[in-house]
């Protein structure tokens, strides 16, 4: 009873999650008004410094941030929607394989995608620049592409975000009642006319929602602007906050003011997203296994397939290939030089960066622990949200979704400010990372477990109640076995995200607790391309192997039928 229908656990959970999220943010806001770390008086002087004294650089900072966010979102929408339409609505050949290739960059952190792109589009050493100079017969030694630019950042981040748009849009397209499109055809609309006047209009909420998600993610993105912007001194809010926190001399109050600005911007976007989606149902779901009618591309079938494949190979496969290639070369070269092949980048990794393997072990352990804690906490939150009627459930739902609107960098700044001081000094321990990981991924876990729970007929649990089962046995014998596939999927999603996490890890990792992100950054700062590449290949292999093992074990035993005793 205490678990499922009394008010107490819901209230306690709301307080716990609220504390996890809001306590660090409180110290960010506090620091932004504080005279200095040693002086407990409050002032607006830091806001003055940021917005008046340094108004010119601040305006530039906001300009770069907004251009990066809008530009990458636009690119992500164009690419993601086009790919979704090709796969879900046309007879383009090889759609299944295309989907896999198109989604593969999703498994890399955008920071490492950015590193890969430097191999392809650096002014001097980029493979694509070499090719273009040769094709266009240019005499220059650099260019024409420059990945270290605002455009380069938009390109890399937009491509990284396009799978989000793709996934939302193709899910909506798949659940669209095909008779809505057939009705347009019967009313005389052409295939193209139906696409633009009916299909796209019907999935517009999904596109809008994924676009706003992409916008929120791009605002909080640290990895891409750190790799591609910082070397040419183009800063956005996240990298500016990080450099004020991490680079000597630290300016924590300055970072706090910028954090507050980023937080406000993120809250506005999340609010806009909820508003844009409120009262709007997604698409009509039939629940029947209709195959949606494919648009026959006719004589364009092969040219379109060739274009789509070239694009996804050039933007998705090539960066990965370049990364793997770089990891086995003694130096980066755009030509195929078998004499440079070496395993030194792997064997010498530990001597170059003694903490490399410790970091992988730390990240693995912290990700497994973080995903497990986050999904467990989320399960209880979801139980309360779905079982509880009335305002308490709504409050809990709202609080659990709060981390969505908190950029990871800002949250990390808050954790540093909250847990560098007594009573709880957590900096330099793994606990501060666990706190960040669990809190930031509660929304993902709650979404996964709520959707799993909402697909369970309430009568299945009620039947257990009528059979005499108390709350713990209902949870253990009925609910958890029934929603296990959903919980496992949620766990894997959080685990993969945590293995890739850089935005908060870069600030919260420390010499005593190195993680993937901190080692990656230090290798990158050394300019050791080969080591960066080999380290990232190792991280990805470890991540994939563990995820595959977990999925295999969980799926094999899922819905195993109990035998007769």
């Amino acid at each position: 009873m205490w678990l499922i229908s009394e008010r107490m656990p819901a209230a306690l959970l709301a307080i716990l999650v609220g504390f996890l999220v809001l306590y660090p943010l409180f110290w960010v806001v506090e620091a932004s008004f504080r005279t200095s770390i040693l002086d407990r008086t409050y002032t607006l002087v830091w806001y003055g410094k940021v917005f008046v004294e340094n108004s010119a650089p601040t305006v530039e900072l906001f300009y770069h941030t907004v251009v990066l966010a809008l530009g990458s979102t636009l690119l992500a929408v164009v690419v993601g929607v086009a790919a979704a339409l090709l796969v879900a609505r046309t007879d383009m050949p090889g759609r299944g394989a295309f989907t896999i290739v198109f989604l593969s960059p999703f498994f890399l952190t955008p920071m490492i995608t950015a590193v890969s792109w430097t191999l392809l589009a650096s002014p001097r050493i980029g493979l694509y620049n070499d090719l273009l100079r040769w094709v266009l017969r240019l005499d220059a030694l650099t260019g024409p592409l420059d990945i270290y630019s605002e455009g380069g950042m938009i390109w890399v981040l937009g491509l990284y975000l396009s799978p989000y748009v793709y996934l939302f849009t193709s899910a909506a397209l798949r659940s669209l009642d095909p008779s809505l499109e057939e009705a347009a055809r019967m009313s005389g609309a052409s295939a193209g006319g139906t696409l633009f006047r009916v299909t796209l209009q019907l999935v517009r909420p999904a596109i809008l929602s994924s676009a706003l998600l992409a916008l929120i993610l791009s605002f909080g993105q640290w990895g891409v602007p750190a790799i591609l912007g910082v070397p040419v001194r183009t800063y956005v809010l996240t990298t500016a906050i990080w450099s004020n926190m991490a680079a000597w001399p630290t300016q924590r109050e300055y970072a706090a003011v910028l954090s507050v600005a980023l937080l406000v911007a993120a809250f506005i976007f999340v609010w806009a997203q909820r508003r844009a989606l409120s009262g709007r149902s997604f698409v009509t779901v039939t629940g029947r296994g209709f195959r949606a009618p494919a648009v026959a591309l006719g004589r364009w079938r092969w040219p379109i397939a060739a274009a789509a494949w070239s694009f996804t190979v050039a933007t998705g496969v090539m960066p990965l290939a370049a990364l793997v290639y770089a990891s086995v070369m003694s130096r980066w070269t755009t030509s195929l030089r078998l004499d440079l092949l070496t395993l030194r980048n792997y064997t010498g990794l530990a001597s170059l960066e003694p903490q490399a393997f410790v970091a992988i072990a730390n990240s693995l352990g912290l990700s497994v622990l973080g995903a497990t804690l986050a999904i467990s906490l989320s399960l209880f939150v979801s139980l309360c949200i779905t079982r509880e009627r009335g305002p308490l459930a709504r409050i809990l739902d709202y609080v659990a979704m709060l981390p969505v609107s908190v950029p990871s960098v800002v949250f990390a700044v808050g954790l540093l400010m909250a847990y560098l001081r007594p009573p709880l000094v957590l900096y330099g321990t793994p606990y501060i990372l666990i706190l960040a990981y669990v809190t930031l991924f509660i929304p993902v876990g709650v979404r996964a477990s709520t959707s799993a729970l909402s697909q369970i007929d309430p009568a299945l649990e009620e039947a257990a109640r009528m059979s005499g089962a108390g709350p713990i046995r209902r949870l253990a014998m009925v609910l958890v076995p029934l929603i296990r596939p959903g919980l496992v999927a949620g766990w894997v999603l959080i685990y993969i995200s945590l293995m890739k996490e850089v935005s908060s890890s870069i600030l919260l990792g420390s010499p005593s607790v190195p993680v993937n992100a901190t080692v990656l950054w230090s290798l990158w700062s050394l300019g050791a391309y080969g080591a960066v590449a080999s380290f990232e290949v190792l991280c990805t292999v470890v991540m994939a192997v563990v995820a595959a093992v977990v999925l295999a074990v969980a799926n094999r035993s899922a819905f195993q039928v109990g035998s007769r005793p």
Binding site: D457, E462, A463, M466, M477, V478, Q560, G562, P565
Partner: protein, 370 residues
Amino acid sequence: MSIEVRGLTIRYAGTAQPAVRDLDLEIGKGELTTLLGPSGSGKSTTLRCIAGLERPDQGTIRIDGQIVCDAARGIWIKPEQRRLGMVFQSYAVWPHLSVFDNIAFPLRILGVERSRMRRKVEEVADLVGLAEFLGRPATKLSGGQQQRVALARAIVFEPRAILFDEPLSNLDAKLRERMRREIRSLQRRTGLTAIYVTHDQVEAFAISDRIAVMNDGRIQQIGTPQEIYARPNSAYVADFLGAANILTGRYTTEAGRTKLAIPSVGLAIDLDLDVDAKSTDSATGLVALRPEDVQVLPSAAGTAVETSVREVEYLGRNLSLTLESAGTELRAFVSPEPVPSIGQRLWITASPNAVVHLGPATPREDRQGS
């Protein structure tokens, strides 16, 4: 009394009307009582309050004399401690367990020793005709078989009563009739007290010892199926049980004989029998005339009233006619031959025995009867 409900009231947040209001219900040992009503009448809510799956705002519930719920005194026994079996509309058979494990679940909770549990499960499975399916995954069963699993699970732990929440409405018509008979015979053999919720009056008539017709969160009438059909106490009940023509009648007494006039249609009927004094002590009252009791004549005769045919529906065994007289429409069932044409003139009359007297008209019933 096996189950006793007093003053049950439950209100859902955000709704103006309570779902159930001030409801009293008594159910005798071994009796099968049906709560019959349209959706939203509060029948499922009442059942779920008895089960303990909903917590009422007011009222007391006793099972075998034990108070399981007394809102005023804050007494509340959790559903898992009430020892009631329940069969759900969606069957609620657990897909991750085998048929055996589904049925054995309540016994496992009770900690019944293995060999006894196995004996008991086999005995119950035999009773519901599932003996050879015990090792199967529950998801590999048809709808009817799943419903049998649910039934077996509900009776295996010898509950104090068994609750049925629209158990047959997901089955097709033929299977529904068969399961209905099986449920009834199982209930008779086990002697279990049962409450059965349905919106289907045919099902209610077939299965029940007593029927409680529900309307707007209240019991409108309770009685045996025969009582309810023969003497509905309101236009609502008469209408719900058989799409009756509800009309306003005027009673007059002339030389010791009571006459009933129905001005809206123009019918006048000699009531040569004794009508319940209660029904006729006021001058006007509502009467119900079932479609099958309207006599349709091809030509004028006696006091028969002239009507014209508005609609003809072919129902197989008979024809349903919509007849109009003086602006009032009436439904009548007639033999399928010959088929009258639209606009044709027909004459109607009704035998005095066929008229159901519903008592004085209240504005409320007028609205619902129309």
